[in-house]
C-alpha cells in the first residue's frame, strides 16, 4: 500500500477518535454537572438513555469508558504512525473490534430495553463502527509474513 493511503487512513482514525472523544467527554461532563441533556435532530430520549441504569458498567459510567476508549484509539493510531510497529496495528484492530461489539450491544439496549435513543450514543456507535472498518483496512495493509520454506 502506498504510504499516502496509509497516512490518510491514520488521519481518519485520529479524527474519528477525536470526535468520539469530544462526544464522550460531553456526555461524561453532563453526567457530573447533572443538567439534562438536550436532544437534537429529532431525537427525544437523550436524558432517558443517559440516566438509565444501563449507562453504567461495573460502577463506571459508559461515557467515561468512551472517553478513555477514544483517547486510547487516537494514541495508538498516532503511535503506529510514529513507529510503524505491526503490533500497534493489531492492537488497534483488537480495540476497535471491542468498541464495535460494545456499540452493537448498546444500540440493542437502547432499542429493546430502554426503547429510546440518545443521539450522542448513536453518534458514538457510528464512529465505533467506522473505526472498526478502518481498523480492518489498516490491518489488511500490513505486510503478510513470508513463510520461508
Amino acid at each position: 500500500m502506498p504510504p499516502t493511503i496509509s497516512k490518510f487512513l491514520i488521519g481518519a482514525i485520529v479524527l474519528l477518535a477525536l470526535i468520539g472523544f469530544a462526544d464522550s467527554t460531553f456526555l461524561f461532563a453532563k453526567r457530573i454537572v447533572g443538567t439534562p441533556i438536550p436532544c437534537v435532530l429529532g431525537f427525544s430520549g437523550c436524558d432517558e438513555v443517559a440516566k438509565s441504569p444501563h449507562s453504567v458498567l461495573f460502577g463506571i459510567p459508559l461515557s467515561a469508558l468512551g472517553t478513555v476508549f477514544y483517547l486510547a484509539i487516537g494514541i495508538i493510531a498516532l503511535l503506529y504512525a510514529d513507529t510503524k510497529k505491526v503490533l500497534l496495528a493489531k492492537l488497534l484492530l483488537g480495540a476497535t473490534t471491542i468498541g464495535f461489539l460494545m456499540s452493537v450491544y448498546f444500540i440493542y439496549v437502547q432499542g429493546f430495553l430502554i426503547k429510546a435513543f440518545c443521539i450522542y450514543c448513536v453518534i458514538s456507535a457510528i464512529i465505533s463502527t467506522a473505526l472498526f472498518t478502518l481498523g480492518i483496512i489498516l490491518y489488511r495493509t500490513l505486510p503478510t509474513p513470508r513463510k520461508d520454506l
Binding site: L18, F26, A29, V33, L78
Partner: protein, 222 residues
Amino acid sequence: MDTQKRIIVWVSAVLVIGITAIAAWQIAKAPPKTPLPPRTAGDTLAEPVGPNEWTKGAKDAKVSIVEYSDFQCPACGAYYPVVEKITAEYADKVSFTYRHFPLPQHKNAERTAYAAEAAGKQGKFWEMYSMIFEHQKDWSDLGAPQAEEILLGYATELKLDLNLFKKDMSSTETRDHVKRDKDVGIRSGVNSTPSFYLNGKKMQNPRGYEEFKVIIDKELAK
C-alpha cells in the same frame, strides 16, 4: 519520523485533546436554554408566568398582571406609582410580574435592567426596581460610566455585595435573561412600553389608578 516532526505531532496531539476536552466540558456546563415560545396573534402572552420570574403579590392569584417595561421609558416611570398602589392594595388578590423590554433608543435601559437582575440575585430585585424608577430622571441622560456609578450607589444603599453585584451585572446569564424577556415580549406582540397583560390578554393601558382598579375589579368579579 525525525525527532522534530515527532515532537510537533505529539505536542499538537496533547493540545488538541486538551482543547477538545475543555470545550466539551464548557458546552456541557452551560445552563440549558429554554426554547422560545411560538409567536401569538399579538394580543396574548406567548409564555405564561413561570416560577423563576419577578412576581409579587398573591400566590395562585385569580388575576395576574404582567408588565413589559423599560426602566428608562418615561411612561413606564409614570405608571410606576400606579402599579405600586395597585399591587399594595390588591396584594392578596392579584399577582404582578415584571418583564424586561429595554428599547434600543434608551441608552441606559439595558444597564438598569441588568442592575435590577443583579440585585435580584441577592434577593433585592423589587428594592432595586423601586430605586431605579423613583430616580429615573437622575440617570436617564447620563453616559455609561456615570450611570454605572449611580447604580453602584443604589447597590450600596441597598447594602448589596458590590463585587458580586458588578459581576452579576455583566454576566452572560443576566444578559441572556433580559434578552429572553424581550424576545418573549416580541412574540407576545409587545410593540411599546409599558404593555400590560391581564390574565395573559393584552390590555389597553388604563389612564390611571382609578381605571386600572375598575378593570381589575371587573376581572375579579368574573
